[in-house]
Point group: D2
Chain length 355, copies 4
């Protein structure tokens, strides 16, 4: 099988480099263009590497950065674009790529709430892919944009999916302990976070509610319909490198036992597991039995096989108290909640014949 | 006025040293005995000082540590005992002191849930002091024990008091970001918390519920009655030195505006303010208008005048969304939520003629 | 006595704010203008406050920021300017102020190596003040610039002065553990320093050598003469908020005992102590006997009286091994090694009749 | 080839677990006994796992801990013992194992300075292995002890070896930035190191001098002879997880160019490279050209192939200034400077026919 030609936008940033790392030696895709702004042109990935926890592959490091030119990419035969662009600039550039006929898989928030663009989390809403039909019609050359959800939303929605389906919960309260890598680079000044918590992340709480309702909602008759779930979030940044931890409360008239809930989590499987997508974790939700897990440094990279490291979420401390449920959830914010989300989206689209 | 003679138990620990610092040059009290275990006997406070944010007074530093001998303390004319003992050893030692006729103000959890012992937060439940009558009867010499609430509970209860009274809320969800000093010394190993969050603090969530219900409840006919409030907590340790941050959610059938709630907080005053107790903050709840406050390093020491630094709590990000209320609350865990709580309790007892 | 009218340049930054804090209620000086770039005009100091360890005075916080206009300052009767400007912009603005007749006390490096500008550390080289005569001549209106040394140099030079004088050492090796506040704001990205050391600070090692030689050198016949001392430095940034720690090695043919060296440190006094300048620490070098001191969080604020907190350096672990001497030295980088250095310089100049 | 049967002492600690990880699937050795104190008996490695940066192999995690019984180990056919014991208990237990005829490879300091026990760093002093002959004679059954050097010494000695040989340097000054993992578990309390540096590590500076002189010295006529090198060290703990950074100064009458020194480093090879030992890094010293390297989080795991990760040291910022040389050196303190050192020692002994 010939691999699909792929470009990465935003290759100088942390998400772009996660894409580069995850797509290196990928069975379906081959990166033929590492794009970034003019400022980085001609530099190598090694020059700009920011992923401290990853041993950069030496060959990968030699890859040269080029400027971002959608028309040129299309001409070079690029069919797929992964966008790790900051949201301030992502909107028009991603549109330009889609208008040139390419399939764009984006981590940026710019297009997430568009009426014909899915926020895809393949275990949750693979049927939302159907929404791109409308996009392909309005864009002349068959291209489209698929987004992944915000990092915190991805973790929460994965954790809610099995139990919302099984037990019809609607009332959710969630508090986050978000990692520094979520703010990109340079991100948070060290002097602001040393021995501190920053209890505000712009727009994050709103996204958790609106994106959560879209991701967990339906798509029928060409329209997205919000989930009836209500998500009330309180978000804060703490001094961790990777891994968003979320404390979740759920209230309902009655509540199943903690054992039943744990079972719903650990037995959960979705379309990516069915298709055995390369980046799909065999078990998307790992349930921890220890009293003090999950922890960012211990559980951030959960997921098997090797290619799916960081693609599983971890859930622990499942406690039921009368009509209330509490648990803690951990998601790798730049893998499952970032670049990895879009890689899995592209793998699904590819296998569903949409590329 | 002659000052009352005072002893501090647990002087080698962080809470004991907070007591020493807060009682230094106190207008009502004079510390005449710094007690600790035999291991520390003969050392000076300076030898054992652990409060890195405080310039230890030089004279105070020269104070010698003596062993803990309740009978000897009573003989030396000590009338008041402040206990910063770890809960494992506090119970019997505090009983012994009370049985010798001394008034014991304790930060330990050992006696908090006793049926004739108050968990006193003077702005909230000054009437609970009446419960010591039963204690004085059963103890032969008129002594008694008064406890302060757990650090996280103190902050939460203070934040709930004005709005629970005004709006009759009953359903509370709270998530904590707790500081390292809350674990005492040596406390949390550095290697466990570096770039990490520890999502478990033994018994803390249970205390938030049970102590919260007692503190906010009533005392009549010689019995404590639980508040109808339900508190569902999720507690975690983060890498901050001082200051517990708490994210609070409240749900009710209807919800007043954020402005009304802010006003209820900032206009709140209690018995300590009425009596102008030395360690009482003029304004017990400071409302922050900035989008990103309160923060541990910025707001931990809130409270005026000088003697009341760390005795006010800070509340910010008050958000109302239909029938739900969210806000963030910060309490200095070893001052208002620790030693300072008991100092204020003793000041109240003294002014109410109970010493 | 009427206080001298004073302006602060760079009031939006950390050093500017240290100036504001240290000059508040100063016995000689009164700040009448808080200047910064146009971007901050009209904001208050409270809006921009970045000194987390300092309770900002409420009145001070209300001070309005104005733009930086040397001519206007001179017209308003400002006689003294404190410059906390970044070195990229300090040079010409400071010159403009001096040319308008004002005495400029600068923390910036721009003019430090000028041939008629002193790097003044009043305990070390008060005679270097004579160098401003040449400046006053070339500038038309009698103004001049006096600089303080780089933060690391200030600490090192103070630590070397008594023993270089007493024992004629010339060979020095020094390694630094420098605090985050030394990089200004936003400074070091949190993701770069979390669980890390950054072993490079641009130009810092060169400054330690060149500024050190000038500070410890002489001034005679209108010329600066370098000290024969050689300083070989290795500088790194670590994850501390305030306080540069320096490990010093000295080699010589023979070496006095550790006791003699400790005595030279602790008995050291200079011109500021003689004149009892307001910001002068009674004892400029505190010798610590404990095996594990000085430490940044414990010793950073050394210095008495209150106004001199952070103005003394601390030295500990003095070890002599044959012909080699080792010790550790701690200096508060933004107080003694920053704004406080220039405040002391201005106090000296004022008392020497140069303002 | 049948693998040699191996036991690990101290399996509940961080060094013991590094041994377990590095010996898993080892081509020469097979761990048949994981020993620890009675307190841990019956637990699994997974229960006690403390190496946060390592994905524990699932099968390995199931290994059961047994008590430490030298006679029983010998009976079970164990020929090699790796000791990760704390130095307080290592001495007699290691002796007992050697006396039972086993070859003991120890990370503890207890026997390092013994007159017939080598401190082996295979790239530096493979000839020191000859010293075990005397041990085998005095112990009845042919067993012996070989130690690895202290973590900081290992890095320094590797960095000195090529240039001391080439240029006959003798005068060395070194300052360390040591990681938290070097203190074991629980190690340093978080409250002591948060935003701080601890400028004292018990006995560390003395070890750097005495062990360094032994490691770099000779062995002839059955006796160790100290190297003429003098090492003056200043050691401190900083808030990093892994990787000791060392700032090195060298003084000599004349000094080669930085290029020549860099070349001496990068071309250095030793006996392990010659024998292609499994844990030997192809290149033991990696020279970094960037101005700000090595850094603990980026360079700690240097070394190829996979099995040698963390076994190479990194050197950067090589600066020559007249007769003085400065550079920075990074060593993984628990791999090359700990368990990995002893694994390499055992591989060498095995290949030299001593097991």
């Amino acid at each position: 099988m010939e691999k699909k030609r792929v470009a990465i936008l935003g290759s100088s940033g942390m998400i772009g480099q996660r894409f580069a790392h995850m797509l290196h030696m990928h069975p379906y895709f081959e990166v033929t263009a590492y794009c970034a702004s003019d400022r980085s042109e001609g530099k190598t990935l090694a020059n700009l590497w920011k992923l401290f926890d990853i041993d950069m592959d030496e060959d990968l490091g030699k890859s040269k950065i080029q400027t971002t030119d959608p028309k040129a990419l299309a001409k070079e035969g690029v069919e797929i674009v992964f966008s790790g662009l900051p949201s301030e600039v992502a909107g028009p550039l991603e549109d330009a790529c889609a208008d040139e006929g390419m399939a764009v898989f984006s981590n940026a928030s710019s297009h997430r709430m568009d009426i014909d663009t899915p926020i895809l989390v393949p275990e949750i809403n693979p049927d939302h892919l159907a929404s791109i039909e409308a996009q392909r019609l309005r864009r002349k050359k068959g291209g489209y944009i698929v987004t992944n959800a915000n990092c915190s939303v991805t973790g929460l929605a994965l954790g809610l999916k099995p139990i919302v389906d099984a037990f019809r919960f609607t009332e959710v309260y969630v508090t986050t302990y978000q990692a520094l890598s979520g703010a990109g680079y340079p991100g948070v000044p060290s002097i602001d976070i040393l021995s501190n918590v920053l209890p505000y992340i712009k727009n994050e709480e709103e996204k958790m509610s609106s994106e959560g309702k879209k991701v967990l909602g339906g798509f029928s008759n060409g329209r997205f319909g919000d989930s009836p779930i209500s998500i009330e979030a309180s978000c804060a940044r703490v001094g961790t490198r990777d891994g968003h931890l979320e404390a979740v409360f759920i209230k309902d008239r009655s509540m199943p036992t903690a054992e039943k809930i744990a079972k719903a989590f650990s037995s959960f499987r979705g379309r990516p597991q069915e298709l055995e997508l390369p980046s799909a974790p065999i078990q998307p939700i790992i349930v921890r039995e220890e009293p003090d897990r999950p922890q960012p440094i211990l559980d951030c990279d959960a997921g098997m096989p090797e290619r799916a490291k960081g693609m599983a979420i971890s859930i622990g401390r499942i406690r039921v108290n009368n009509d209330r449920l509490r648990f803690l959830l951990l998601v790798h914010n730049t893998v499952r909640g970032g670049a990895g989300g879009s890689v899995l989206n592209a793998e699904l689209a590819f296998r569903e014949g949409l590329i």
